[in-house]
Each structure stands twice: as structure tokens, then as C-alpha cells.
């Protein structure tokens, strides 16, 4: 790549404006060309980068516009991007609030009923008692007044049924007797009860409630008794009448049967004429009997039917009254009613069949009578003189009469034969017609029978269903009772627990109050005792303080005197020390200061300052003593001479030759012996000779300290030479300083302790 560029540059150099192609200008050209090339490439690069950046920015902004989360991310990560975004896109969209899912109202009636039930369970007695009169007031149109408790119980049972259904354990069986009216009545009652619950929740007293309950029970019992009595009465009467009717019907049946038999017998006409008349009489009697029996039967039937209707009405009203306890009785009554109806119907059908038989027989007899009458009439026409009763005329008839009679008889026989033939011919048709008729009648009878059987069957089924319903209902009731009992048990448990907790709480509260009161009392008692103690202590303290004060005054007086004595002693010992200083000889040191210092130490054992000062004395002075100023001064001149002589000698210059030179120097150097030292030392003042001159000056003026300071500035061999002298001077100066401090201190102490007279 580089080579390519190079080559390009090379080629461009050939064509470049800058003239001849040479080795040297190539470099320049290259520089130019690379500059030019770089110019265009730089421009390209710049343009490309600008494009990329712009594209990136635009893309980011667009995407941020589309995706607010991305925008938020960018705003978080890049510092000023939020301003840019706001400028470009406007303010960020508000954060989406997640949709709150409201809990679905699942069967609000059930829930309300559940809450009702729970509320009920919490305060069952109160609310039950409360709700007892409530439904009485609230839905009066629906329920009857004398049965509120069963209503409540049933409502409760309905609610419980709802609960059970909600739990889903048992099939919800609607409470019997509440099939149509109860649910709307229940909801109305429930709602009303709800309304009544919130505003006023007063608990009725137990006695009133029990009285009410007893009242309601009694009312129920009365109603039940009345109902049962009514039912039994009507049952009894209807049974009686039915039995009567049945008896009548049976009597009618027998009457019809006898009549028919008699008729049949009469029709046979094989008996004696005398007997026939009796027969006919008997027949008439039987007929009259029959009619009478029929009438009676009819009457009885009507009565029975009426009674049954009454019974049915009573049963319906009993059903309407909806007392649970009467249910089995109602069912039994219904069964009885049904059986009676069935019996009646059976008997009626029997009677009807007998009647049809009788009709047939009577028709037959009528026909026979008609034929007889006709025959007699013909006979009478033929033989007009013969009287009606031709039976007794068998001896009186002449031969003509007999012949005519026989001819008539023959004619009659012919006629009858012809009729018979005709009849035979028509027999089939008649039979068919009769069959048809019979079929029709049979059909009708069948239909009737079927209808009645159906009715009976339906009635049976209904009764069975009712019985089953009753049974199931009872089972439900029992179960309901157990559940309620369970609930009651749970409620009692809960009550017990709550009571226990309450008892504990109250107990604790009482205990707390007791404790707090006790504490109060105790604190008060303590406070009082403490106050007493305090006052007593105060008095005691005051007295003690005074005593103490007095003692202290005396002590301080003693102390002051002691101090004075001590100060005196100190001063004396310091004076002694000073005196020892004077014992310095010309060249010998003083006495060792040990003694005097020891005396001071003894005398001022408690005085810390003195102790410190005495301990600050250097050891040498104590053990050996110090030199006096005069001796030091004398020695100084020796030092001076010597120092002058070795002034040149130090670490670098210390050969013998240097010694010679330095000696020469000291001889040849002329200077003043004493030069007043300046206030501040300049570096050129640190010359040996100068320093010695200053020191001499100071010594002559008696300022040993200053001289020592100057001598301290010596360096090299001169320093070494002056070392001992310096040490001694230091010692002396130290000791003198300490002693002067001590004496000043002693003076001060003395001054301090002196009391003005």
C-alpha cells in the first residue's frame, strides 16, 4: 500500500508542476504530492467521517423516536443526550403504567352472600336475631307473617346452600318451598338485609330474642297443628265419603248385576208363568233397586268428588303455607287422595261396564218385548176375539182358529225364516257394524282407560317425585344442619379464642396499669426520702464544710509558716552554695559543690523546682567543682596564643609544613588584640583571628559567655585546642546560671512567704 503510494507519488512527481525530476526535488515533490494527495484524501476522510457521524446520530434519533426504552437508555448513558433528544423529538413519553387487573367479580351475589355468611358467622346471633325481624318487615308480600323463622331458616339454608354450592361440594338443591319465590325473595331480602346491616347494628337482648324465637316457634307449631288438623279432618271426611261412594258404587254394581241377571232370567222365559210374573215383579224391583242404587251411587260419587276436591284444596293451601313439618303429612294426604281417586275411578269404570252390559241386556229385553208385543198384536189381529192372555185359552180354540193360528204361525215362521235369512245376510254387515261400533266404543273406552291410567300414572309419578324430593330435601336439611352445626362449632371456637385473647390483653393492660401505679408510688416515696436525705446531707455538708474551712485555715497558716521556714532555709543554703563558689583558687577549682547542693536537696525535698534545678547542675561541678572566672580568663590567653599558632590547621591541612606556615602566619599577622564584636556575625567574621579578637574583647569586659560563644565558632585545630577550656567555661557558666536561678527563686519564695506585718 505504501509502495503503491510511493509509486503514485513518484509518477505524480514526474508530472508535477515543480519542474525537473531530480533525486533531491523528488523529496520535495514527494512532500508536495503527498501533501496534495493527503489534502484530497484528508478531505475524503473528513467527509466520510462526517457522514458516518451524521448517519449515526440520525439513526440514533430515529430509533429513539420509535423506541422510548432505547431513548431512556441513551439518556442514562450519554450525558447531554436528553437535551439533544428533547430538541429533536420533544419531551419523552410518560412511562407506561401497567394495567391493574381488577379481580373479576365472580358471582357477586355469591360473594355478597359469602360475605353475608361470614358476617353472619362473626356475629351470627346478633345478626340472626336482627335479621329475624328484618325479613318479617322487609318482604311482607312474599312471606307470611306467622312463619318468619322458617323463612329465616330457609333463607339461611338457602344461603348455606349457596355457600355449599360455591364450595362445590354438594349439588345446590334449592330449598324446597323456595323454588320460585325464595331466590328473588332471598335476593331482595339479602339486599334489604345488607342495607339494614350497614346503618344499624344493634344487638337485641337475648331474652327478647329467645322470646321472639319462642313466639315464632309457637306460631309455627300452631299453624302446623291447624294445618294438620285441617288435613286430617278433610282426609277423614273425604275418606268417609269416598268409602261411602265406593260402597254405593259397589251396591250399584251389585244392583245392576242382579238386575241384569234377573233380566236375563226373565228373558229366558223357561219358567212358569206365575213365576214369570213374580219374576217380572222381581225384575221391576231389581230395576228400581238398580236405579235407586245408581242414583245413590251418583250422589255418593258427587259427594266424594266434592270432598276430594276440598281435600285437594286443603292440600294445596297446606302446600302454600310451606311448613316443612307438614310436608310428610301433605304427601300422605296426597297419596291418600290419589288412591281414593284411583279406587273411585276403578269402581266407576266397573259400574260403567256393568251399565253397558245392562244396557245391552236391556236392549235385548226391549227387543224381545217388542217382538212379543208385535207377535201379540199380530195374534190379536188374526184372532181378535182371543184375549191377551192366550196361554190360558188352549182348550177354547176352534179348528179354524187353530188353523189360522197355525197358518199365521207358519207365515210367521216363514217370515221369521226370511228375516233370519235376511238377518244372516245382514249378519256380516251387522257384525261388522257392531264390531265397528264395538271398536269405536272399545277405542273410546281404551282411550278413557288409557287417559285415566295415564292420569293415575302421572299422579303416581308426581307423588313419587314428591316423595323423592321430600327425601332428598330431608337429606339436604340434615346435611345443612350438620354444616350449620359445624359452623356454629367453629364460631364458638373462634369466640373462645377471641375471648381468650381479649382476656389476655385486658389482663396485661390491667397489669400494666397496676405496675405503672406502683412505680409512681414508689418513685414518689423514693423522691420524698431522697429529699429528706438531701436536706440532711446539705446541712451536714454545710457544717462539715465550715469545719473543714476552719481546719484548712489553720493548716494553711501552719503551711504558710512552714513555707516561710523552708524559704528561709532555701535561701540560706543557696547562700552557702554561693559562698562555696568563692572558694575557687587561682588555678584550682572550687570545692566540690556536692555538699552544698546536698544540703539544698535535703532542705527542699518537696520543692520540685529546686529539685529540678539542683538536678540540672552538671555532674562535674558537683564532684569536682568549677573553675573561677579569673582562672578561666588567665587560661584564655594561653588558648588564644595557641589557637593563633594553629589557625591554618584543619582536616585538609594538617601536615608539618602547614604547621610551619600557620606559625609563620601567626607571627606575621598583625591585628588588634581586642575588637568589639558586632551585633550580628557575618560569615567573614568567622575567621579565627577575628573570633579570637572578639572573644578577648568580651573576656576583658567580663562577658565570659559571649567569649565562650565566639570560641565555640572556632574550627579545626584551634577548636581542638580550645576544647577543654570551652568545656570548663560551659560548666562554670551552667553552674553559675543554675545557682543564680536558685538564688532568684529563693528570693522570690522568701518574698512570697513574707507576710506583711
Amino acid at each position: 500500500m505504501l509502495r503503491v503510494c510511493w509509486k503514485g507519488a513518484h509518477a505524480a512527481a514526474r508530472q508535477c508542476v515543480c519542474g525537473k525530476v531530480k533525486a533531491h526535488p523528488l523529496q520535495h515533490c514527494r512532500r508536495y504530492t503527498t501533501a496534495g494527495d493527503s489534502g484530497s484524501t484528508a478531505g475524503k476522510i473528513v467527509a466520510a467521517s462526517l457522514l458516518t457521524v451524521g448517519g449515526g446520530l440520525g439513526g440514533t434519533i430515529l430509533y429513539a423516536k420509535w423506541d422510548p426504552k432505547f431513548r431512556a437508555n441513551i439518556e442514562k448513558s450519554v450525558p447531554y443526550s436528553d437535551q439533544l433528544f428533547e430538541m429533536a423529538l420533544g419531551p419523552p413519553p410518560p412511562p407506561l403504567v401497567p394495567l391493574q387487573k381488577k379481580p373479576g367479580k365472580i358471582e357477586p351475589l355469591q360473594i355478597s352472600s359469602l360475605s353475608e355468611a361470614s358476617k353472619e358467622s362473626k356475629q351470627p346471633k346478633a345478626k340472626a336475631k336482627k335479621s329475624d325481624p328484618e325479613p318479617v318487615e322487609a318482604p311482607p308480600a312474599v312471606e307470611e307473617a306467622p312463619a318468619p323463622t322458617p323463612q329465616t331458616l330457609e333463607e339461611a339454608s338457602a344461603e348455606a346452600a349457596h355457600i355449599i354450592s360455591a364450595i362445590g361440594e354438594v349439588l345446590s338443591v334449592p330449598a324446597p318451598g323456595t323454588s320460585d319465590e325464595s331466590p328473588p325473595g332471598h335476593t331482595a331480602a339479602g339486599e334489604e338485609r345488607k342495607d339494614h346491616h350497614e346503618p344499624a347494628l344493634k344487638e337485641r337482648p337475648a331474652e327478647e330474642v329467645s322470646a321472639r324465637l319462642a313466639q315464632q316457634d309457637k306460631a309455627e307449631q300452631d299453624a302446623l297443628a291447624a294445618l294438620t288438623a285441617g288435613l286430617e279432618e278433610s282426609l277423614g271426611s273425604s275418606a268417609k265419603t269416598t268409602l261411602q261412594a265406593i260402597g254405593a258404587q259397589e251396591a250399584a254394581l251389585t244392583a245392576i248385576a242382579t238386575h241384569t241377571n234377573k233380566l236375563k232370567e226373565a228373558m229366558d222365559s223357561q219358567t212358569h208363568p206365575d213365576e214369570k210374573s213374580t219374576q217380572w215383579k222381581a225384575l221391576n224391583e231389581a230395576l228400581s233397586d238398580r236405579t235407586r242404587a245408581m242414583e245413590e251411587a251418583e250422589e255418593a260419587l258427587l259427594k266424594a268428588k266434592g270432598e276430594l276436591e276440598i281435600l285437594r284444596g286443603v292440600i294445596n293451601s297446606a302446600k302454600q303455607s310451606k311448613i316443612d313439618a307438614a310436608r310428610p303429612q301433605i304427601l300422605a294426604a296426597e297419596e291418600n287422595l290419589h288412591s281414593m281417586i284411583v279406587d273411585l275411578d276403578k269402581v266407576v269404570t266397573k259400574v260403567q261396564t256393568a251399565q253397558t252390559e245392562a244396557k245391552i241386556v236391556s236392549q235385548y229385553s226391549e227387543l224381545v218385548n217388542e217382538a212379543k208385543a208385535q207377535f201379540q198384536q199380530e195374534l190379536a189381529n188374526i184372532t181378535p176375539e182371543i184375549q191377551a192372555n192366550w196361554k190360558g185359552l188352549s182348550g177354547k180354540l176352534s179348528a179354524d182358529d187353530l188353523n189360522s193360528l197355525i197358518a199365521h204361525a207358519h207365515r210367521r215362521i216363514d217370515q221369521l225364516n226370511r228375516e233370519l235369512a235376511e238377518q244372516r245376510v245382514r249378519e256380516q254387515i251387522h257384525i261388522e257394524a257392531a264390531l265397528e261400533q264395538q271398536k269405536l266404543e272399545d277405542q273410546k273406552a281404551l282411550e278413557r282407560a288409557v287417559a285415566s291410567a295415564l292420569e293415575h300414572r302421572r299422579e303416581d309419578m308426581r307423588l313419587e317425585q314428591e316423595k323423592k324430593v321430600q327425601e332428598v330435601r330431608e337429606v339436604m336439611e340434615a346435611e345443612m344442619r350438620t354444616q350449620l352445626r359445624r359452623q356454629a362449632a367453629a364460631h364458638t371456637d373462634h369466640l373462645r379464642d377471641v375471648l381468650k385473647v381479649q382476656e389476655q390483653e385486658l389482663h396485661e393492660e390491667a397489669q400494666e396499669i397496676l405496675n405503672s401505679k406502683m412505680m409512681e408510688q414508689e418513685t414518689r416515696y423514693r423522691r420524698l426520702t431522697q429529699e429528706q436525705l438531701d436536706t440532711f446531707t446539705l446541712d451536714m455538708n454545710a457544717a462539715y464544710a465550715r469545719l473543714k474551712g476552719i481546719e484548712e485555715a489553720i493548716d494553711s497558716h501552719v503551711i504558710a509558716e512552714e513555707e516561710a521556714r523552708k524559704a528561709h532555709q532555701l535561701w540560706l543554703s543557696v547562700e552557702a552554695l554561693n559562698y562555696t563558689l568563692k572558694s575557687a583558687g587561682a588555678d584550682s577549682p572550687t570545692e566540690p559543690l556536692e555538699g552544698a547542693v546536698g544540703v539544698i536537696k535535703e532542705n527542699c525535698a518537696e520543692n520540685e523546682f529546686a529539685q529540678a534545678l539542683t538536678s540540672a547542675l552538671p555532674e562535674e561541678s558537683l564532684s569536682r567543682g568549677i573553675y573561677g572566672e579569673a582562672s578561666l580568663r588567665a587560661r584564655f590567653y594561653d588558648i588564644r596564643r595557641l589557637a593563633r599558632r594553629v589557625a591554618l590547621i584543619d582536616e585538609t591541612r594538617n601536615s608539618l609544613y602547614q604547621y610551619f606556615l600557620s606559625y609563620l602566619q601567626s607571627i606575621l599577622l598583625f591585628e588588634r588584640e581586642q575588637v568589639a564584636p558586632p551585633v550580628k556575625l557575618a560569615p567573614e567574621d568567622l575567621d579565627t583571628f577575628r573570633l579570637l579578637a572578639y572573644a578577648t574583647y568580651s573576656i576583658e569586659r567580663g562577658d565570659l559567655e559571649l567569649a565562650a560563644k565566639f570560641i565555640n565558632q572556632l574550627r579545626g585545630e584551634s577548636q581542638r585546642v580550645a576544647q577543654d577550656w570551652l568545656k570548663e567555661t560551659r560548666l562554670t557558666l551552667e553552674t553559675k546560671q543554675v545557682i543564680s536561678l536558685l538564688s532568684a527563686y529563693a528570693n522570690a519564695v522568701g518574698l512570697g512567704t513574707t507576710q506583711a506585718p
Partner: protein
Amino acid sequence: MSEKELGRKWDRCLADCAVKFGTGLGLGIVFSVVFFKRRTWPIVFGAGLGLGMAYSNCQNDLRSRYVLHSKVAKYFSFEQK
């Protein structure tokens, strides 16, 4: 007394010089007599030797204070645990 030390040194120096000179001279004489056929140069040499030694001694003695004595220190390593 540090001022007296210098004097002492000088005394020692002189004494030493005298001794050494004398000894050198003597030895020179001896050598000259014994080995070198009574030439002068061993005497002078010996005396010069003596003087030289005395001079050197004197210088060393006077210098003794300023000479640095060095010692190679042992390598110590402290390991901190």
C-alpha cells in the same frame, strides 16, 4: 587540657626526631664504616632516614585526629515479617 596536648605532641615529636636522627646517624655511621668504606653517603642517608622517619611520625602524630578510619560494614538484612 586540650591545649596541652599539642605541646605534648610537639615534645614527643622532638624527642622522637632526636632519637631517630641519632639512631639513623649512628646506623649510618656503622654502615658506612662497616659496609661502605667510610663514605659519607650512608651517614647522610641514615640521618636523612632518621629525620624522614621522625618527620613522618611527627606528621602522623599531629594528623592522627583527622585521619578517617573506615571499616567495611557487614551486610545486615532486616527481614520484616
